[in-house]
């Protein structure tokens, strides 16, 4: 599998805190990679470093073979990297359609304004927000805002898409819908990195999972290997439970 993005010993420090500690990670073209870890593990920091919100304090980020470590957010966006925010970030006064049109236009992926608007309308159709197109974004419910985030990211025609907790705060029916959308997006060939707390979602969608803990990568493998990984259980539940789990399953 050819690598779409390659992180080489990427570190990010905030004062004395190592939010990311020499993370080396390859993201393969076309995969759905799950990125999990306890709260504060550095998942969102990783996305912020890759998209240029924070500059890496060490290491390199390569995207399609190009060094993008020093890119600023708008450059990363135009290079084909899109993200959704954990806390949704709409343009509240613009209509839903205008929100997505802005993403389609400024990412530079869709030519002029008219074309951008067409692309935006298509994406709204795809995520099921077409009926709300003319509403101001501020009037949407949380579930709809999450879908708006998704439509904005998709309108940028990304090759790599980071989904930062798109399911947080949704009820189970909404999560089902969102999972369906993610599968459909992946089917179009977009590489997806899914940051998620809901294990059900990660295990059922992802082809590979990596685990961050205290800024370091502690596991990398198939979903099945991750759930039985001693380090992962330790990171989530503590040493004591990890030992109990190991005894229960018969592995020392």
């Amino acid at each position: 599998m050819s690598e779409l993005m390659q992180l080489e010993a990427v570190s990010r420090r905030f004062g004395g805190l190592h939010a990311l500690d020499k993370v080396t990670l390859g993201i393969g073209r076309g995969e759905i990679l799950g990125l999990i870890g306890p709260n504060g593990a550095g998942k969102t920091t990783l996305v912020n470093v890759v998209t240029g919100v924070h500059r890496a304090t060490g290491g390199r980020v390569l995207f399609e073979g190009k060094d993008i470590t020093a890119y600023r957010p708008y450059q990363a966006a135009r290079a084909g990297i899109a993200r959704t925010f954990q806390v949704v970030q709409p343009f509240p006064e613009l209509s839903v359609l205008e929100n997505v049109t802005a993403a389609a236009l400024f990412s530079g992926a869709n030519g002029g304004l008219r074309n951008a608007r067409d692309v935006a309308a298509q994406q709204l159709e795809f995520v099921g927000l077409a009926a709300a197109a003319d509403q101001p974004a501020a009037t949407l419910t949380l579930a709809m805002r999450k879908r708006l985030e998704l439509a904005k990211a998709l309108a940028m025609k990304p090759r790599l898409l980071f989904l930062d907790e798109v399911n947080a705060g949704l009820n189970s029916a909404e999560v089902e819908q969102a999972m369906g959308l993610i599968r459909q997006i992946a089917a179009t060939g977009v590489t997806i990195v899914l940051i998620e707390h809901l294990m059900k979602v990660v295990l059922s969608i992802c082809s590979r999972i990596v685990v961050l803990h205290n800024g370091a990568l502690i596991a990398d493998g198939s979903p099945a290997s991750i759930v039985s990984n001693q380090h992962v259980i330790e990171a989530y539940l503590g040493k004591k439970y990890a030992q109990m789990a190991a005894q229960a399953s018969g592995n020392p």
């Binding site: 998209t51 919100v53 925010f85 343009f91």
Partner: protein, 312 residues
């Protein structure tokens, strides 16, 4: 692509052209001031209203324009040359400065932009050979036939500049730049993330908020024939445009013009009737207007409609 609102806006502006026919010197002076204030207000609206960055640099642009133009005029340049030079210098300066200043947000940006005028004032003060320093700068009379003729000439010049400014700014509002600025104002990190080049767009907005003000500064210098640093770098030139825009309605070009005219009207009436305490009364009026009409004069129509309809 003109909308009804724009026709009203440009129609109203055209109507202003009759002011010199009313003949009086006082009316002409007031008309010229009104156009000058309106230029400042619509310009501030680009950075403050569209981009959401509360700039206090209007006084800096005005003074820079007045002195650039003034020095050139005193050296014998044509008025048009002086105006274009002042505009170009202000735009270039604002773009360069913007790349630095626009990294600050909120109060920090406001304070930093306030300092620009102070720095320029000090520079002007100390460059005595060029600007006359604290002595001020005399600008020779143009070769017009009489005082009233000159007054109407400067009225038309200021009016024409306002017209130009409004055309350019309405165009910006509709352009990719205006769209990007709206995104930046509403959510800057989200704007970054969809590919808006924030630094460039904000610097452009800063540049456009300065170019016409600087040109008006040159006209002002030519009009009053004598300028000095405390006069043209007056902090009030930074504050008034903000009040005007808030009065008229933040983010609306028509609102900015209406706000400027209203402000000048109130200022004149208060000035005449309360010589001793006029700034106090003016301040009180402004606070009252902002409290009771937070979305400005342009929102009155909307409010009346919603009152009649019972709900919005």
């Amino acid at each position: 692509m003109m909308r009804r609102k724009d026709w009203i806006l440009f129609g109203g502006l055209l109507l202003l052209a009759v002011v010199p026919l009313l003949g009086e010197g006082y009316t002409l002076r007031l008309g010229t001031m009104a156009c000058m204030y309106a230029i400042m207000a619509v310009s501030w609206n680009v950075i403050g209203g569209m981009a959401g960055y509360p700039s206090f640099a209007t006084a800096a642009f005005f003074g820079l324009g007045a002195y650039t133009g003034g020095v050139l005029l005193a050296g014998g340049s044509a008025l048009v040359t002086a105006i274009v030079a002042a505009g170009a210098l202000a735009f270039a300066g604002a773009m360069l400065l913007g790349a630095v200043l626009m990294r600050l947000r909120g109060h920090y940006f406001a304070i930093a932009s306030l300092a620009v005028a102070e720095v320029l004032r000090e520079l002007t003060n100390s460059a005595t050979d060029l600007t006359g320093g604290g002595m001020g700068l005399n600008i020779p009379l143009g070769n017009t036939d009489g005082v009233l003729d000159e007054a109407s000439f400067y009225f038309y010049a200021m009016w024409g500049l306002l017209f130009l400014a409004v055309i350019v700014i309405v165009f910006i509002e509709r352009s990719r730049l205006g769209f990007g600025l709206a995104c930046i104002r509403q959510n800057e990190s989200a704007a970054d993330m969809i590919g808006v080049n924030g630094t460039l767009y904000k610097s452009l907005a800063f540049g456009f908020s300065g170019v016409f003000v600087a040109m008006a500064g040159t006209l002002y210098a030519g009009w009053v024939h004598y300028i000095e640093p405390p006069d043209v770098y007056d902090i009030l030139f930074a504050v008034k445009p903000i009040v005007m825009v808030l009065l008229g309605g933040l983010g609306s070009t028509a609102g900015a013009i209406i706000g400027a005219f209203t402000f000048l009207g109130i200022e004149e009436i208060v000035w005449r009737n309360y010589l001793q305490v006029h700034t106090g009364v003016l301040g009180f009026l402004v606070v009252a207007l902002l409290l009771f009409l937070p979305h400005g004069i342009v929102s009155i129509g909307r409010r009346v409609r919603s009152l009649r309809g019972g709900h919005v």
